[in-house]
């Protein structure tokens, strides 16, 4: 029995058909494969048939534990000091070939903190992935509000009837049209440690007071540099979405506001912002999803380095799946990322729901 939904929408299905087929073939199907592969030891290049390994890939990826160690004591029981701090046995001596704790074999220090005399090490089986996870979250937490806010600011600026306003719209939108790979290559030159544009600019503005910084070669600046560049690159895209939202707000509301003597802030707070409700939800969710997919900039600009300071989830998925021919490892990361993005989107949806 054909439902009304299917029959009366024949034209609709016809029009949606091509993209549904493409999405099913190139996104849904590969993703189902990824879920399947994540439970096997599938390789990219191998004569061995894949075998089911259960949750081994997930355990390898997500296993985290803590280890608390006491400082070394000398014969008298006093704490051995080294460079003014208590000396602890090396993590290596505790995790490798330790008959007491075979479960720690293959785990590495992620970070550690001290309390009292003892020190607690947080060990992870896959430290690089943990760092990628943290970096990606930092990226999302900075990019989502800053990029969304800047885009809204730009949209308000260009939402005016001025002569030549299209020139500004075009300028702001231009980086979106240029391929991200090209943009990344250009910014690599801008961030160059010696003769880069940014260093020359800072040095000229400060009359040489600001020393040259190797922006992408320094673990403390590399991620920040990529965040700044990514915000600049895509801000124009969200500006256009905000702009379309702004133009759906009825001018009569603004007229009424003006007659009532509303200030600029009041106009924004009580007319523009509520009118942009749905746009806000859209922009927030799209930026978050885009930010989680951070890959091209990393691939072109840093390759995850220096010292893993710019590792990201998607970069690791590609690096493992193709670079290290470990399709199952890459698939596992993809599935984990899917779960993360899905839950965050659902939370965002719930937080921004219509309260009736």
């Amino acid at each position: 029995m054909a439902s009304k939904f299917l029959v009366s929408n024949r034209t609709g299905w016809l029009m949606a058909g091509p993209s549904i087929l493409l999405i099913a073939g190139f996104i849904v199907l590969p993703f189902l494969f990824a879920i399947l592969f994540s439970f096997t030891n599938q390789r990219l290049v191998s004569p061995n048939a894949a075998e089911f390994v259960g949750f081994a890939n997930y355990r390898q990826l997500l296993d985290v534990t803590t280890l608390t160690v006491e400082p070394e004591r000398d014969a008298a029981g006093a704490v051995v000091m080294e460079d003014g701090a208590p000396k602890y046995p090396s993590v290596r001596s505790l995790t490798r070939n330790n008959p007491d704790r075979p479960d720690l074999n293959g785990m590495r220090e992620w970070f550690s903190f001290g309390h009292g005399d003892s020190r607690t090490y947080v060990l992870a089986r896959d430290v690089v992935f943990m760092k990628a996870l943290v970096n990606t979250f930092i990226f999302v937490l900075v990019v989502a509000p800053v990029q969304g806010g800047l885009a809204l600011g730009l949209a308000l600026l260009i939402n005016q009837r001025l002569r030549g306003i299209n020139v500004f719209r075009t300028i702001y939108f231009m980086p979106v049209v240029v391929s991200i790979v090209v943009v990344s290559l250009l910014w690599r030159f801008i961030y160059d440690g010696q003769s880069g544009l940014l260093n020359n600019l800072l040095s000229a503005l400060s009359f040489g007071a600001i020393p040259k910084v190797d922006w992408l070669g320094n673990p403390s600046t590399a991620l920040g540099a990529i965040i700044a560049m990514s915000i600049w690159q895509a801000v124009g895209f969200y500006m256009v979405i905000w702009l379309s939202g702004l133009q759906t707000i009825s001018p009569t509301l603004y007229e009424a506001g003006a007659i009532e003597g509303a200030s600029k802030w009041q106009t924004f707070r009580y007319i523009t912002w509520p009118g942009l409700r749905n746009t806000t939800v859209l922009v927030l969710i799209v930026i978050t999803m885009q930010a989680f997919a951070l890959f091209a900039q990393i691939d072109v600009m840093t390759g995850g380095g220096p010292l893993d300071s710019t590792q990201t989830i998607v970069f690791q998925a590609v690096e493992r799946g193709y670079g290290k021919q470990d399709i199952s490892g890459g698939s596992t990361i993809s599935v984990v990322l899917f779960v993360i993005v899905l839950s965050i989107s659902l939370i965002q949806r719930w937080l921004t729901r219509e309260k009736s």
Binding site: S46, P47, V127, S195, D214, G305, L307
Partner: protein, 417 residues
């Protein structure tokens, strides 16, 4: 549209030609797209071969080097490989193990004189053969050595570790150059394992234990490897070399006097010779376990799916003539695979400007680990040396690399070793 028509016409012509002459077409993939000189050279070999006999007709398809390996893997997954494959030496075992390649049946006497690095041997069988090899040398100037009061090392008596470190210290103290040593840190990718793992091997360590190829434990995190790691880190910590390098400095830094010593390959040698008239190509220093440099470059082999391996082998055998070895060497600066071909070249003939590279390759060359797992091990090693250069803890980094390599070997059931 015209292009399409032209292609159709060409296709029709070749199919018709093929049937008329009862020739069997062999397809060949090559990594040299974008390099006109290389394209012309390989084109000449193919044209000569096609004209020399009537059984086979080789057709060339070129890929850009950066996309070549991916194309082969994709082609293999789609069951669509050519008859003749071009393969980077250290990758060959991976492809042979995966069933992309079959042993190469050519007359053994023809390659008796070939440099050891040009022979792709895995599991006791020849799979690929190279028309050339590549070598790395410590590039410097006679005037630099004189100014710093350093002994000129020779192949028989290379610098010891102490002499090498003394040279770096003197170079730094002299202020003659911005950095004492240019290692080529800008060339991320295969350069790292190719150029830097010989240092590790010269210390007595290795990327993987070559006696079994089943573990990296002890090889990559043993005492020798730890000593290598500390030494490697000190090069950057003590300010002899940069951990991150501007690609432009790698390409032109030595030639403009920015570096006193440059660890660079024979392909860059002509540029240095043009920049200075007293350039020297010094052998690798002996860091304790003998001086070592990487060996093996691109080679030719036969794909496993080829219906006509004898034709493919005939072509490869044909290409191994000295005149082609010499032509490639003259055209793109590579080291010809045989002494007789070297004698035909401008630069590698005895007494030639680059002849030292032929001797380096013959005497110090060591192939990278001959295992299907090398492809992964190279990536792991690259990250480890980059991290150590950037200041990561040596023992923890090498342990992590060892664990990752071991996990990978285990995941692949020992890679058939």
């Amino acid at each position: 549209m015209t292009k399409l028509k032209l292609a159709a016409a060409l296709l029709a012509a070749t199919t018709w030609g093929g049937t008329a002459l009862a020739q069997q077409t062999l397809t060949m993939w090559y990594h040299g797209a974008g390099n006109d000189v290389e394209q012309k050279l390989i084109g000449e070999v193919i044209a000569d071969f096609n004209a020399s006999q009537t059984d086979w007709k080789v057709e060339l398809q070129s890929f850009p080097q950066a996309a070549y390996n991916d194309s082969v893997v994709a082609g293999a997954l789609a069951g669509n490989l050519p008859d003749i494959l071009d393969v980077d030496g250290p990758n060959m075992p991976n492809w042979a193990w995966a069933g992309y390649m079959q042993p190469l049946k050519i007359d053994e006497t023809k390659i008796a004189e070939f440099l050891p690095g040009t022979k792709g041997i895995w599991n006791g069988e020849l799979y690929s053969i190279g028309l050339w090899d590549a070598a790395v040398a410590m590039v410097t100037r006679q005037s630099t050595l004189d100014a710093l009061g350093l002994r000129t090392p020779t192949l028989d008596q290379p610098w010891t570790k102490d002499e090498f470190m003394d040279a770096l210290a003197k170079a730094k103290a002299s202020g003659k150059c911005e950095y004492a040593l240019d290692l080529g840190m800008a060339w991320t990718g295969e350069w790292y394992p190719y150029a830097f793992s010989p240092f590790l091997q010269s210390f007595g360590g290795d990327i993987v234990d070559r006696s079994t190829y089943k573990t990296a434990e002890g090889a990559l995190n043993g005492d020798a490897a730890m000593a290598f790691g500390e030494w490697w880190q000190s090069l950057f910590k003590d300010g002899y070399a940069q951990a991150t390098q501007d690609p432009a400095d790698r390409d032109g830094g030595f030639n403009s006097g920015k570096y006193c010593f440059s660890w660079n390959g024979n392909w860059a040698a002509l540029g240095s010779l043009a920049a200075f008239d007293d350039v020297l190509f010094l052998p690798a220093p002996d860091l304790g376990n003998g001086p070592k440099i990487g060996a093996a470059s691109w080679q030719f082999g036969v794909s496993a799916k080829s219906q006509h391996p004898e034709g493919a082998a005939a072509f490869i055998e044909f290409a191994l003539q000295d005149k082609y070895l010499a032509a490639f060497s003259n055209g793109i600066g590579l080291i010809p695979a045989t002494p007789s071909a070297a004698a035909l070249t401008e630069n590698y003939a005895p007494g030639g400007k680059l002849a030292v590279f032929f001797d380096l390759s013959a005497k110090q060359g060591l192939v990278r680990p001959v295992t299907p797992g090398y492809v992964v091990q190279a990536k792991v090693f690259e990250k480890a040396v980059a991290d150590i250069a950037n200041g990561a803890d040596v023992a923890a980094t090498l342990d992590a690399a060892t664990d990752e390599i071991n996990a990978d070997i285990e995941k692949n059931n020992g890679y058939g070793h």
